[in-house]
């Protein structure tokens, strides 16, 4: 019975993505397209520190960012981290921009409160922040600050609805990003799922973004 439910769920997701990609490629009048990136690993968990909270028992990864180019829709190798080739870098819940002390690029970002589709052009008076790691990132870190809320009872990370990351890329173009999910397969584990599942499936980003290659601030 529960297996059958799972099947239906998987089927439902498959249909969901199919519908989504149809919308992206279909007869839209927009010049720019919206791309959905699935399961981008972001320093996935490789172990748990010994002991129990508050001194131990914390999951940890290898401590490495995953670099991503919005322009080419590709993961950029870490060897290119000191270049303009990447725009965003993901490590756990931290999203760095290729700006300030995170990278040599001219990137920047701010958090827009509203719907992804409603953001048709970036307001002229917008201020793009730049990274000053580790104390202040252009996209603020921490629960309930920028893009996610941590559910401490169930120990799950949930993206906050109505938050759009407005990005200036490393080369000065513009993009908008909505984080959709933080878990593998784009599905947050059930609140009752075992801790092992919650840990092994987290730090996989699903997000959608629109990149405007012509340098304007409209989407």
């Amino acid at each position: 019975m529960s297996k059958m439910k799972k099947m239906i769920l998987v089927l439902g997701i498959a249909v969901g993505f199919a519908a989504c990609s149809k919308e992206d490629n279909g007869g839209s009048t927009n010049v720019v397209s919206t791309i959905t990136v699935k399961d981008l690993p972001a320093d996935t968990i490789i172990g748990i520190t010994p002991g129990a909270p508050p001194t131990g028992g914390f999951p940890y990864g290898a401590g490495r960012y995953t670099f991503f180019s919005l322009e080419s829709n590709k993961i950029v190798p870490a060897s290119d981290s000191a270049s303009n080739k990447w725009d965003l870098a993901f490590k756990g819940t931290t999203i760095a921009t290729n700006s300030g002390n995170s990278g040599p690029g001219g990137a920047g970002a701010f958090v827009f409160v509203g719907l992804f589709d409603d953001l048709k052009s970036i307001p002229a008076d917008s201020t793009f922040r730049i990274d000053n790691a580790p104390s202040a990132f252009a996209i603020p870190t921490g629960s309930n600050r920028a893009w996610y809320a941590y559910d401490g009872i169930n120990q799950l990370v949930n993206p906050i609805p109505g938050r759009v990351l407005v990005i200036r890329t490393a080369s000065g173009k513009y993009a908008k990003v909505e984080i959709l999910n933080y878990y593998k397969g784009g599905t947050t584990p059930a609140t009752t799922a075992p801790d092992a599942v919650k840990l092994s499936t987290q730090r996989y980003y699903t997000f959608r973004y629109t990149y405007q290659p012509n340098g304007t601030k409209t989407f």
Binding site: G57, G152, I153, N158, I160, G162, E178, N181
Partner: protein
């Protein structure tokens, strides 16, 4: 017991509470009566639960009130009153009240009232610094202390997440409310039935909130003001004597709550949630739940049997689900958030009184052993008890 830093747990609490009060009742005639009174409270507290025992908190409160009851007609009674509070730490408040009772006949009456209320934050809400190491290790910090303590814990890496309510913490303001009530009451030899509709508009409601989690998941609560809260609903109460031995009582409350500022934000399209694809969408008014920790339905039922020296009773207490945490992070409580499950608690007891001052009582609380460690840390599981008591000087032997 030990504290977070490993030091022995010292729970010291000294509170002194001085109160002087006077009430004078004046009966002008058969139809007009007046009560006048006033008082003064001097309160100090010094406790390890409130930060450290060397600092003493003091407050002085003076108050005066007046109430007039006028039987305008045989069926109609009017009650007018007012109260003045002067709270040294907070504010002075004038709270008038007006009520009207009309007897339709000897069994049926209606009552309507409107009144203002005032509630200043108390020491607990301001200064408490308490961690219950026994039950889930949850903590409660008074609003004055909360920001300071949590910021410090966060600096030490002992906080895993800050809830939206944390950012809403500020100096607590006193609560002012306006309440409206309309009720009917029926009474005869066997039945007593009442129903009441109520609405309260509460400015700066003092409400407890989950504000942060410690690393390891322990919850931290504090208090904040809800700017424009309201509570409204219906409460009913039925008492019935079936016969000489058997009686029952039943109560039910239907409750809706909310914050007008949040409803305005929803109506303005500024509140979001997610659809099945994970895409954000606007939240609908119908998804709004209101204030946390309140159940929409609450009911209780008690059946009591007595015969001579024997008694037995069973009590059922029901509470429907209530929201606890804003898990989707949209800043308010909606149907996508975390809820505590509704539950039924059943208590049963029976006893017998012997005729030489000896009585025996046995019972069980929480018969079905309902527990919810996270949301109801103070509800123990099934408890059996037997009490035997003996009265040495029995003035009224049976």
């Amino acid at each position: 017991m030990i504290t977070d830093n490993g030091a022995p747990y010292v729970d010291e609490f000294r509170q002194s509470f001085g109160r002087a009060e006077n009430q004078t009742d004046i009966q002008f005639n058969e139809r007009l009566e007046m009560n006048v009174g006033g008082g003064y409270i001097h309160e100090t507290a010094r406790s390890t639960r409130y930060d450290n025992s060397s600092s003493v908190k003091t407050n002085r409160i003076g108050y005066a009130y007046l109430q007039t009851e006028w039987k305008a007609l045989d069926q109609l009674t009017l009650i007018g009153g007012a109260r003045y509070d002067h709270n040294e730490l907070f504010a002075a408040a004038f709270s008038p009240k007006l009520a009207l009772q009309y007897k339709i006949n000897s069994k049926l009456s209606v009552k309507a009232s409107v009144g203002r209320g005032f509630k200043a934050p108390d020491f607990r809400q301001l200064y408490l610094n308490f961690t219950n190491t026994a039950a889930g290790s949850y903590s409660v910090f008074g609003s004055v202390e909360a920001q300071k303590i949590i910021t410090e814990l966060n600096r030490l890496g002992q906080i895993s997440s800050l809830e939206p309510a944390f950012y809403g913490l500020s100096t607590l303001k006193p609560e002012f409310s306006t309440g409206f009530n309309l009720g009917v009451h029926f009474q005869d030899a066997k039945w007593s039935v009442s129903a009441n509709i109520f609405r309260n508009n509460i400015e700066n409601l003092i409400d407890s909130r989950l504000v942060a989690y410690r690393t390891g998941g322990a919850q931290i609560f504090s208090y904040l003001n809800v700017k424009n809260a309201f509570t409204q609903g219906i409460e009913t109460d039925v008492q019935h004597k079936v016969n000489k031995h058997l009686s029952f009582t039943a109560g039910y409350q239907f409750l809706l709550t909310g914050d007008q500022a949040e409803i305005d934000a929803i109506n303005a399209g500024k509140v979001f949630t997610r659809d099945q694809n994970g895409f954000s969408r606007r939240m609908n008014r119908s998804e709004y739940v209101g204030l946390p920790n309140r159940s929409k339905h609450m009911a209780n039922f008690k059946i009591l049997y007595t015969k001579n020296a024997f008694f037995a009773n069973t009590r059922l207490i029901y509470r429907s689900k209530w929201t606890t945490t804003d898990t989707d992070g949209n800043g308010l409580f909606n149907s996508n958030d975390a809820f505590a499950k509704g539950y039924l608690q059943v208590n049963a007891a029976a006893g017998y009184e012997f005729n030489k001052g000896l009585s025996v009582q046995a019972g069980t609380d929480n018969l079905f052993n309902y527990t919810d460690v996270i949301n109801l840390p103070n509800l123990p599981g099934r408890t059996f008890y037997v009490t035997v008591s003996y009265q040495f000087f029995n003035k009224n032997p049976k």
